[in-house]
């Protein structure tokens, strides 16, 4: 417990370091002295472009990691996360429909559409995998993959018939990115990330108990169906709101909780803040890499996380006992 809290502190320090340093780096390095010393270009880049982007990455990464943590514990499977369970694809389908119909002209419309998409996909996957004895995880993952594929096919279908400007918007948005953001998006997403953390924190004992299996957890007084709906509903809301501003960003929810569980703690009291901070720092670093590796060209961050996540997923599959 002591060791775990020390590790959590270390993660918090890394998080702070990322918050301070990442906005200074990019295709054009900015020094803090310039930005504060009246260089208006430097100030604009730092305060208006980079800082909100880093803040959004920190919030989005934290939220993704928390969603992954909730799903992995709930379904007792390290491969479960919003992306693999089809929740992200459902949200994306909702958002694409919103872009196509013009609903997406307001952030709220886009968010509601992606939330509904996420919830529908999540409920469908959960419904398909529910058995009398509990959740069958292999069915869960297969159902998630089929929902993902179906949603992707529907998205392609809509793209094909959309007019070219909309198609471009959809394609670029589908790659997942944090490129064009301001403080409005940050203010939108931050409460969701904190809300997800609060929800999981409130349910932390139930989540700890699930480590001993569903049957035992239920026998100790955990109301499993209530817990499932809270986590599924909460995660769908959060993922829907995230997808609305940043597109589907995959695999952060897979990689971060898994590594933190192995290295920091099994207990959710520590894991929840660790995921909020660690996931944020991870995504902000990925985004930093995305905008510097091929500068001045930017790689969409979703492409980068997927490039990391694919092999990681494979490694998990192969080493899973």
């Amino acid at each position: 417990m002591k060791k775990a809290s020390r590790k959590l502190l270390l993660i918090a320090v890394v998080w702070l370091a990322v918050l301070v340093v990442a906005p200074l780096l990019g295709s054009h390095a900015v020094s803090l002295a310039d930005a504060l010393g009246g260089d208006s270009t430097a100030a604009t880049i730092l305060w208006r472009i980079r800082l909100p982007r880093v803040l959004l990455a920190l919030a989005a990464g934290g939220l993704l990691a928390l969603s992954g943590l909730g799903f992995q514990t709930l379904f007792r499977n390290p491969l479960a996360e919003p992306y693999t369970l089809g929740v992200s694809s459902g949200a994306a389908l909702g958002a694409v429909i919103a872009i196509q119909t013009g609903l997406a002209d307001s952030l709220l419309g886009l968010a509601v559409a992606s939330f509904l998409g996420a919830l529908a996909a999540g409920a469908l996957v959960l419904g398909l995998a529910m058995r009398r004895q509990g959740i069958e995880t292999s069915t869960l993952l297969l159902a998630g993959i089929s929902i993902s594929l179906s949603a992707s096919a529907l998205i392609l279908f809509l793209q094909y018939f959309a007019d070219p400007t909309k198609t471009f918007r959809m394609v670029r948005w589908m790659m997942g990115g944090l490129a064009v953001v301001g403080y409005r998006e940050v203010a939108w997403l931050l409460p969701w990330a904190l809300g997800a953390a609060a929800l999981l924190f409130f349910l932390r004992r139930e989540l700890d108990l699930l480590l001993t299996g569903e049957e035992l957890a239920a026998s100790r007084g955990v109301d499993l169906s209530r817990l499932r709906w809270w986590i599924l509903g909460g995660t769908s809301l959060a993922i829907g709101s995230l997808v609305a501003v940043a597109g589907p960003i995959g695999f952060v929810g897979l990689i971060v909780p898994h590594i933190l569980r192995r290295t920091v703690s099994q207990g959710h009291l520590i894991l929840i803040p660790a995921c909020l901070l660690g996931g944020g720092a991870f995504l902000a670093l990925c985004d930093l890499a995305a905008r510097t590796l091929m500068a001045p060209v930017e790689i969409p961050v979703g492409v980068l996380t997927a490039l990391l996540g694919g092999p990681f997923f494979l490694w998990l599959l192969l080493t899973r006992r």
Binding site: E215, L216, S219, R220, D223, Q266
Partner: protein, 275 residues
């Protein structure tokens, strides 16, 4: 703890049954369990023992009939409230559990914990220590569960169930897969718990002599039906057992707590007891 009134049954089951599709897996059966009773459930594989235990624990809502705790129907209790009264040690558990012994036993305190408290209270730790002592595994407290032997793990889960401070402890085949020494350890532990008188105990088992030694009453299940529920001397006769398990048994010792030996060499004569 308030003193236990032994005259009112702890648990009453009326006409409970469990259906899966068109098939009736269990029941309908009636059952009363006394406040200090030790009830052993025997029967061949697939007889519905686990289903019965899960119904009694409240993990499975019956397809029909009613379960009551001291006269109050189960559905008036939340999952948490039931868990403060009934603890269950299932036979099938996850193979890998990344927790220490102490953490598992502490998990038994869940139904008593308030969500607002960050850490368990001093009383919770006292109960955990007492449960570890009762099962004689204090020395294992800090060990990861995955490093322990099957017998030790069984003891850990029983300690966790005791930490729930239940009035009724339900165990599903606690001695299956254990070597003789650990079977004996678990049997002695259950005997101590039973004699302590704080809990009623319901155990499903295939070990007939274990049942005979511990039970106040033995409940025999066959194809979901209750074929007997009486003291060991009545239920555990060779004729009964031959019939129930379709295998020949030899009575080694009669009396209040009869002992049997499964005959391996003899063919079975199912009608031997009919004359």
């Amino acid at each position: 703890m308030t003193p236990v009134d032994t005259t009112i049954p702890l648990l009453t089951a009326q006409e409970i049954h469990w259906r899966h599709g068109d098939r009736t897996i269990l029941g309908p059966l009636d059952l009363e369990i006394g406040a200090e009773e030790c009830l052993m459930v025997i029967g061949p594989n697939g007889a519905g023992k686990t289903t019965l235990l899960r119904l009694l624990t409240g993990l499975l809502p019956p397809s029909g009939g009613e379960l009551a705790w001291r006269g109050e129907p189960y559905r008036q209790f939340s999952r948490r409230q039931l868990a403060r009264r009934i603890a269950y040690v299932p036979q099938v558990r996850p193979t890998r559990v990344p927790l220490t012994v102490e953490e598992i036993v502490l998990s038994g305190r869940f139904p008593h914990l308030s969500a607002r408290r960050i850490a368990p209270a001093a009383r919770d730790w006292r109960v955990v220590r007492r449960a570890l002592a009762q099962v004689e595994i204090e020395a294992l407290a800090q060990r990861p569960l995955d490093e322990l032997s099957g017998g030790e793990r069984q003891a850990v889960y029983i300690a966790a169930a005791l930490a729930q401070e239940p009035r009724l402890l339900i165990l599903d085949e606690p001695t299956t897969h254990l070597d003789p020494r650990h079977q004996r350890d678990i049997a002695r532990l259950l005997l101590r718990i039973h004699r302590g008188g704080e809990q009623a105990v319901v155990v499903a088992t295939h070990d007939l002599n274990f049942a005979s030694r511990l039970a106040d009453r033995v409940l025999a299940l066959d194809q979901g039906k209750m074929v007997a529920c009486a003291p060991p001397s009545e239920v555990l006769s060779p004729a009964h057992l031959d019939q129930l398990f379709a295998a020949p048994f030899e009575l080694l010792r009669g009396g209040q707590r009869p002992l049997h030996l499964l005959q391996i060499d003899q063919p079975i004569d199912l009608h031997a007891g009919d004359e």
